[in-house]
Symmetry: C2
Subunit: 352 residues, 2 copies
Amino acid sequence: MRPTSPIGLHRVVDPPGVLPQAARTLDPDPAIGSDEVRIRVEALNLDAASYRQLEQAHGGDGAAVRAAVLAIVAERGKMQNPVTGSGGMLVGVVEEVGPASTLGLTPGDRVASLVSLSLTPLRIEDGLARWDGRSERVPCDGTAILFGRSIAAVLPDDLPADLAMSVFDVCGAPALVARVVADRIDRGLASVVAVIGGAGKSGSLALAAARANGATRTIGVVPVEAEAALLKGADLADAVALADARDPVALAEAVGAAGGPADVTVVCVDVPGCEHGAILATAEGGVVVFFSMATSFTAAALGAEGLAADVTMLVGNGYVPGHAAYALEVLRGSPGARALFEARLARETTQP
Amino acid sequence: MRPTSPIGLHRVVDPPGVLPQAARTLDPDPAIGSDEVRIRVEALNLDAASYRQLEQAHGGDGAAVRAAVLAIVAERGKMQNPVTGSGGMLVGVVEEVGPASTLGLTPGDRVASLVSLSLTPLRIEDGLARWDGRSERVPCDGTAILFGRSIAAVLPDDLPADLAMSVFDVCGAPALVARVVADRIDRGLASVVAVIGGAGKSGSLALAAARANGATRTIGVVPVEAEAALLKGADLADAVALADARDPVALAEAVGAAGGPADVTVVCVDVPGCEHGAILATAEGGVVVFFSMATSFTAAALGAEGLAADVTMLVGNGYVPGHAAYALEVLRGSPGARALFEARLARETTQP
């Protein structure tokens, strides 16, 4: 077997010496090294920002989007959107486990990868024939490789696979929010939590996790009435506020009117331009957690400075130990969040 | 006095409802509102990117650059480069303080603004007659307005103005590093601190602040031998390591060899591509603080996830209350850092 690096350096083709996530191209050869694992892929879940970019770039033409994804994977050996830099995740069945692998997997395990597609060697074998190019969920057949250092979650027995995957896609959010809120509560700090994009996947779990960890008040912010209705129906937040997150003044006012400013503001929307609003909506000494892949680092850094805002700003790390299991726990404990996820899956399935 | 918004919304002319930094035009009327402060401007310091753009656009013709800046300010009511979007800062003397101002300023105070010119209402009164248009430093006479929420640092009596301003330019870094390190020490957590770009302005103050707050060990990482010599001469770090910060594997190895991994890694270099290295160089449970404006949000977020790295990542906020005064304190307490700053100023003055 070929010598391997636990972080997959041996799979990097171009340019040499960079990490797989930064590489232009990876080697998706299905033959595994001693600490690697090969997955027989069943489906990809494209990151929301990536899918939106592809959809907009191709005017919603499903066939064109499908062709674009095939071309990216063929050229790069991985599914990393060249514009957004983001990837997504995959689900499949463990096919072969290298003798030195420490991931605790067994051939036959049905797993979701929890490291991004943006660094996962991938080979597609069916031309994505079963995908219409019109949603983030991509049924496919192919192989993917997990490195020595990786994260894969075995799919649970008590939940449908697509629901579990849908949760895994965003499991960093509830875990990090739980950590931030619990830490503040431990230290006796105020904890009004506002989630921008509260009706979405990561947003709804973030709200549930905030509440589960003792948030003083939870506020879900949504851009349109339909999402406000969904969120109210799910009973996930103490207050629901309507605002365009790209309008900083409107967002801050809406959060204020709903019981803010927030001590913890969680940004879970994927549109650019939400940094100033999130900062403005946050109380002095508060925390802003950015999960959106559309977040601009400079807008956040300069925005806080320009507003003389004493806030701690976190780059939302998609990984917290135990995050996958924790997110499933949050879902199981929150009928409202579960309903939102299930409704979303139903819409995706029935969309023309 | 006119009703005001603490973030200056009342000064926004076009388009209405946006923040001053995002506005096309501001109202620079010198008559102040109750929480505002008027500064009699002595000099502007154009942001480097802004000046470079103007210089290139006008082929180095100083008179043309001067005319361009006058036109921008006359049209926009602020000095925000329409191409780069950046501003800079100013130095002046406090002329009038509104009765509701909480900035703690007194007429006669000589101050540097620490919020960008890109959001500061400005009126120039001398046609920039004393500026040759050939450097970023713009002697001028005019008025500028600080909002209720703003940041201005009083220039110290005991340090040359250009040295103080040079420190103010990067004062967010030592303040936030101090806060992070002190918090970890308080909680009994390990605190090996690595500063990537340790010989630069923000890096040197970050090293000094880390040491002053009880860091277990400080490691300064630099890319070239000349900077290593500077840093060793300044006696700012317990260890100096040589590595290209854009090479994650090399960076992590260099930090390891110098006494790492780091519990707190501070990124103070302005070149893109340092995210993965910073993460890889950081121990589990550690903190990465990104100050570089070249930081990519997605590279940081996806990088940590892809490496299964349990690290807290902070967007380096340029503002921490008291940061300007604190940075001057750090400089005064660190002959090594001061020597680096003075040498740098001397080089800038003698450059053709």
